[in-house]
């Protein structure tokens, strides 16, 4: 039983090192209990941290999906205006986003998994800490310092192993979360820099939106001119309605769409 055995020996020797501290073994009980409670709150903080990272990734997925929808709309509009080149550009950008979204979804699932694992670990540790506390009080009430040692060793063995296990779980979750946070930060920067999109104001949107807008305002002018030539004044609402490209109105809508503040974490 070589690999399992080696692993067990190493793990146990590390876990036990944490303990031998106090002169009076009964003090060691309190000391250990204190460490258990500390570890328990550390795991709970770990659960909260992982949840925060997961929510951040979820938000990014939502933002990128919004971008995807917008690019689809732009492609439709561009096609309706006979600009296949613009439509192609919009769809190319959209396919670039799809990879990012897939990647983020995978991260989201991984973080969710870590969150669940840590939650379970925290429940197990809590049950063991409570069992230990009961045992500790019994030992302190029943035995003298000299007698207590063997009982204490019994009580320690299980809990120290659990503490090593939980400590490892927290550390692994922290490592994974840190890696993902670095990538999430990069995505936030992309979104904020407008490389993915920043349609914060009319006329200041991305280049596709700008071009679509200028196309539709040109056709507005043509439509109004045609109306004037034919001697009838178009009713105000029909400036856009009379536009040969039905996309004119949605362009302004999309471009003016308020952007969620970039770079929120």
């Amino acid at each position: 039983m070589s690999l399992m055995k080696r692993m067990s020996l190493i793990f146990r020797s590390k876990a036990n090192k944490v303990l031998d501290k106090a002169e009076d073994p009964r003090e060691t009980l309190d000391y250990s209990y204190q460490r258990q409670v500390e570890l328990l709150s550390k795991v709970r903080r770990g659960v909260a941290d992982v949840a925060t990272s997961r929510k951040r990734v979820e938000l990014q997925v939502a933002q990128l999906e919004q971008q995807e929808n917008k690019l689809t709309e732009q492609a439709k509009k561009a096609l309706s205006m006979g600009r296949e080149d613009l439509a192609r550009e919009a769809l190319t950008r959209k396919s670039g986003l799809a990879g990012q979204v897939g990647d983020l979804r995978a991260q989201q699932a991984q973080l969710q998994g870590e969150e669940e694992k840590l939650t379970m670990a925290s429940q197990r540790l809590q049950a063991k800490v409570e069992a230990f506390r009961t045992k500790k009080e019994t030992i302190k009430a029943t035995y003298t310092a000299a007698e207590a040692q063997t009982r204490i060793n019994e009580a320690f063995s299980g809990i120290s192993e659990e503490m090593g296990d939980v400590g490892l779980a927290v550390q692994r979750a922290e490592d994974k979360t840190a890696q993902m946070q670095a990538r999430a930060g990069a995505i936030d920067e992309l979104i904020a820099s407008g490389a993915l999109d920043d349609a914060s104001a009319i006329g200041q949107g991305d280049d596709i939106a700008r071009e679509l807008e200028s196309l539709s305002s040109r056709s507005d002018v043509e439509a109004e001119l045609a109306a004037l030539k034919s001697g009838s004044t178009p009713p105000p609402a029909s400036i856009e309605a009379g536009d040969p490209t039905p996309a004119a109105e949605p362009v302004a809508e999309v471009t003016a769409e308020p952007e969620k503040e970039p770079g929120h974490s």
Binding site: S8, K14, K128, F132, G167
Partner: protein, 92 residues
Amino acid sequence: MIIRILGEGQYDVAEGSVDGLNQLDRALEDAVDAGDEAAFTEALAGLLSAVRGSGAALPDDSLEDSDLILPPADASIDEVRQMLTGEGLIPG
């Protein structure tokens, strides 16, 4: 015999199942020695599911020591190597 799967919990496994586990353990060790990540993943999954299948989960509030400790289900070959050298990973 009590076996702990790190990150997962403890199982009480009947002595009769240990031979089967030993074979799976050897496959795992070979994979670690060969640095074969695919074989490692398969061997680890096989060993852990054999433990889960043949053992009964201990209640959360038990304070029993484990006879054997196994790596977490999502461990990489490098992590297991580090665990075996006693460096890193396990907080001391």
